[in-house]
């Protein structure tokens, strides 16, 4: 048995890298997929709208933990061979962030007045150009505060990965706690680290919201 020391703190910060990495992966892969879902949800055609709706409903109807367990055990089974845990976990987080981003951005797209589509269409530019230059930027600005809010949810959500043994911040805390028998101290440190990562983001989201409300 040993006491909690500075090197444990360094270990925690090291594990934080994996937390951040997971969030970056979830955003980098979830954002394009989320955009596709948002566009499908707002499409005039029924089939894409329906597919996107089912995806969003299913993913949001299952707890994140359920998604993690499903992909952690399911992906190797489907692939027929061992798959690195980080890949399975990344797929789960990508699906999770995509479904929420898709929902948030759909709201943003729908909040842009229909007359903006009209005006853009009447200029004779393509549908994609209408979205890319006219609708998209306005929708994104309106969606930014809830998007940052989701980012905070994602950061905290990564703690669930500890269940499947992936060493990120929370799992690192478990390991140290088991070695030192100082769970209160260790988990307090873990909590403070989460808090100090999320706090600036929440403030940023609030500032963005204020600026948008001021502009409108």
């Amino acid at each position: 048995m040993r006491a909690f020391s500075g090197s444990d703190l360094i270990y925690l910060l090291y594990a934080l890298q994996w937390t951040v990495a997971l969030v970056v992966i979830a955003l980098a892969m979830g954002a394009p997929l989320g955009l596709a879902l948002a566009l499908m949800r707002t499409s005039r055609r029924r089939l894409p709208r329906y597919i996107a709706m089912v995806f969003i409903e299913v993913v949001q109807g299952v707890p994140l933990l359920g998604l993690l367990v499903f992909f952690y055990f399911g992906v190797p089974l489907l692939a027929g061979r061992e798959v690195a845990p980080v890949i399975a976990v990344s797929i789960a987080f990508t699906a999770y962030s995509a479904s929420f981003l898709g929902q948030i951005w759909r709201g943003g797209i729908e909040a842009v007045k229909g007359t903006q589509w009209d005006a853009a269409a009447c200029l004779g530019i393509t549908k994609w150009q209408q979205f890319r230059y006219v609708i998209g930027p306005q929708a994104f600005r309106m969606s930014l505060p809830p998007t940052v809010g989701l980012l905070v949810q994602l950061i905290k959500g990564t703690s669930l990965v500890s269940i499947v043994g992936f060493v990120e911040l929370t799992r690192a805390g478990q390991i140290i706690s088991a070695a030192t028998f100082q769970p209160l101290l260790v988990y307090s440190c873990v909590a403070v680290i989460y808090f100090s990562v999320c706090l600036p983001l929440t403030h940023w989201a609030r500032a963005l919201e204020g600026r948008l409300n001021g502009a409108a």
Binding site: T115, Q116, D118, A119, A120, A121, C122, L123, G124, I125, T126, Q129, Y133, V134, P137, Q138, R141, A215
Partner: protein
């Protein structure tokens, strides 16, 4: 060849028939003012011309080419006709310059390098060259509408549609917009204006159209039409607008 031929166009919204067989031919250089009570189908007709609304039957031809909502070349066709909306519909997140040059640049009408020059040119025509770097939200309604007109002019359209371009403006801002439209009229641009400004319709248009109950009820040279309305409907419409 006529610039625009509208033949027996019908349009319904649900069970409500808004256009009940409209026919109209527009020659190049004409300035057509469409007046009528609200609900007479004026704005709908205008929106059908550039296929913002689909039609149920009949035909619209622009320079001989049929206009359909699901046609492949709709985009190319719209590049040749501009529309000015009642509510301006500028892009609020873009500066005036970008509002005006977005479409010309994206459609390859002008290079990125020459875009600012084009913006200055069309903004000068509407008297707003000094606002080139402003955002729409920093402009008055009248100025926004003039930018919207400049946005159309930047595409050098063959036909301009005005959908109650001054109806959303404060009374003291109407004049500046009408002066710009008048100036365009002098430059031989073909225009169709749906308007409530009766004096403007009378003084600027080459042909006045009175729409009623989804049909072209009366048409002709404005002075003649105002002096001798042929139908009781138009006569009572004139009386009603005079009282207002």
């Amino acid at each position: 060849m006529a610039l625009l031929e509208i033949a027996n166009v019908r349009k319904s919204f649900g069970s409500l028939e808004v256009l009940k067989g409209v026919s109209l031919t527009v020659e190049p250089g004409e300035i057509i003012a469409i007046v009528g009570r609200s609900g007479s189908g004026k704005s709908t007709l205008l929106r059908c011309i550039n296929a913002l609304e689909g039609i149920n039957s009949g035909e619209i031809r622009f320079r001989g080419e049929p206009v359909r909502q699901n046609m492949k070349n709709l985009r190319l066709l719209r590049q040749r006709m501009g529309i000015v909306f009642q509510s301006f519909n500028l892009f609020p997140h873009l500066k005036v310059e970008r509002n005006v040059t977005l479409a010309p640049v994206l459609t390859g009408k002008v290079s990125k390098a020459d875009a600012r020059e084009l913006a200055l040119e069309v903004l000068t025509r509407v008297g707003l060259s000094e606002k080139i770097d402003a955002f729409p939200g920093q402009l008055s309604g009248g100025q926004q509408q003039r930018v919207a007109i400049a946005r159309c002019l930047a595409m050098s359209p063959e036909l301009m549609l005005f959908d109650e371009a001054t109806s959303a403006l404060d009374p003291e801002l109407v004049g500046e917009v009408l002066r710009v439209i008048e100036d365009m009229a002098r430059n031989d641009l073909t225009m169709i204006l749906v308007t409530h400004e009766m004096n403007f319709a009378r003084n600027v248009s080459t042909r006045l159209i009175f729409m009623n109950e989804g049909m072209v009820w009366e048409q002709g040279p404005p002075a003649e039409l105002f002096a001798n309305p042929k139908t009781e409907e138009f006569a009572s419409f004139i009386r009603a607008t005079k009282q207002a």
